[in-house]
């Protein structure tokens, strides 16, 4: 994963790192589990769409009542023959 580019400002890198760390902390997922979760999501979606794997964003928002898991996956095109 190449989200921590050298010329990104430190504050943005901190923010992105924190978001990933907190997803793992909140869901009690190991970094390995988290990676395989991401792969599984991508696998299912790529069955139906061509997607931009590099720009996938995963977020876990916590409110008082519940946690909301959110995955933003840019779709390039719908697969032909569907």
């Amino acid at each position: 994963m190449n989200i921590f580019r050298k010329n990104d400002p430190a504050s943005r890198v901190a923010e992105e790192r924190l978001k990933l760390i907190l997803i793992q902390d909140r869901l009690l997922l190991s970094p390995q589990d988290f990676e395989s979760l991401k792969k599984d999501i991508l696998k299912v979606l790529s069955k139906y769409f061509d997607i931009e794997e590099a720009s996938i964003k995963i977020n876990l928002e916590r409110t008082k009542e519940k946690s909301v898991f959110e995955a933003i996956v840019p779709v390039v095109s719908v697969k032909k023959g569907k």
Binding site: A10, S11, A14, L22, R26, R62, T63
Partner: protein, 263 residues
């Protein structure tokens, strides 16, 4: 009935004790009778930050073990007559604390004072539990760095599971110069990431070190300093006033000092 608020954090060294002393002093200045309780058994510090170390006679363990009454253990502040310290014991361990007894002490204080602030120890071990259990509200102190925010998130989870839902962040040691250069997390993203509102953003302020060294509380000794001004706003927000968070440009502040020095 008084309000009991625990001042806590996941990570050590983020300013819990400084926040407890200054918010406590500001509430007292607003006319509210206030007790600040040092729950860091074995590593007490609040007495030193308030400059009251020479006046400590009894401590919370003496109260728990019935060696004295609560009133005898309370130390009155040097300057504010309605601010009191209940010191921690230096010779006990956190495991020695009977949580039910702490809850009893806090309940009894709530009957006589407007505010009870609990200065919790760092970490999420036993001492943390005994400082959180008696509280209905929590202030979580966090500095704008990755490890502090991460640990704060853990603490939020634990506190919520204990039934405290009135939780606010105190973002401490905020350096607007670094934020403007995109080198430090800004307070909006900390609020966003943790999903908890902030009750104050305290600017990095070297006066804190100076006043702590002198054994004076910042809001008493240097009430015009940037951090003291924000502590004053936090106390007013706790009291229910709606005051939006506004970060002062540090340059203006130094400009003001300069002007004041010249006149």
């Amino acid at each position: 009935m008084g309000r009991t608020i625990v001042v806590t954090a996941g990570k050590g060294g983020v300013g819990k004790t400084t926040v407890t002393a200054n918010v406590g002093a500001m509430l007292a200045k607003l006319g509210k009778s206030t007790v600040v309780m040092d729950m860091d058994i074995g590593l007490r510090n609040l007495d030193v930050v308030m400059g009251l170390e020479n006046r400590v006679v009894y401590n919370i363990m003496d109260v728990i073990e019935n060696h004295c009454k609560i009133q005898q253990a309370l130390v009155r502040d040097k300057h504010l007559e309605n601010l009191f310290l209940l010191p921690a014991s230096q010779i006990h361990n956190k495991e020695d604390v009977d949580i039910d007894k702490v809850v009893d002490i806090v309940n009894s204080l709530e009957g006589n004072f407007d505010y009870v602030l609990l200065d919790s120890p760092a970490g999420i071990e036993k001492g943390f539990e005994s400082s959180v259990s008696p509280a209905k509200e929590a202030l979580i102190v966090v500095t704008p760095d990755v490890s502090s925010v991460r640990d704060a998130d853990r603490v939020v989870g634990i506190i919520e599971s204990k039934g405290i839902f009135s939780i606010s962040l105190v973002i401490n040691r905020y350096d607007l110069n670094l934020v403007n250069k995109n080198k430090m997390l800004n307070f909006e993203s900390i609020i966003d990431i943790l999903g908890i509102d902030a009750i104050g953003v305290i600017p990095e302020d070297k006066s804190v070190i100076e006043t702590t060294n002198r054994g004076e509380i910042l809001v008493n000794y240097m009430p015009g300093s940037p951090a003291a001004k924000e502590f004053s706003l936090i106390a007013r927000r706790i009291e229910g006033e709606t005051i939006p968070i506004k970060i002062e440009e540090p340059r203006n502040f130094f400009g003001q000092i300069f002007k004041r020095g010249v006149q």
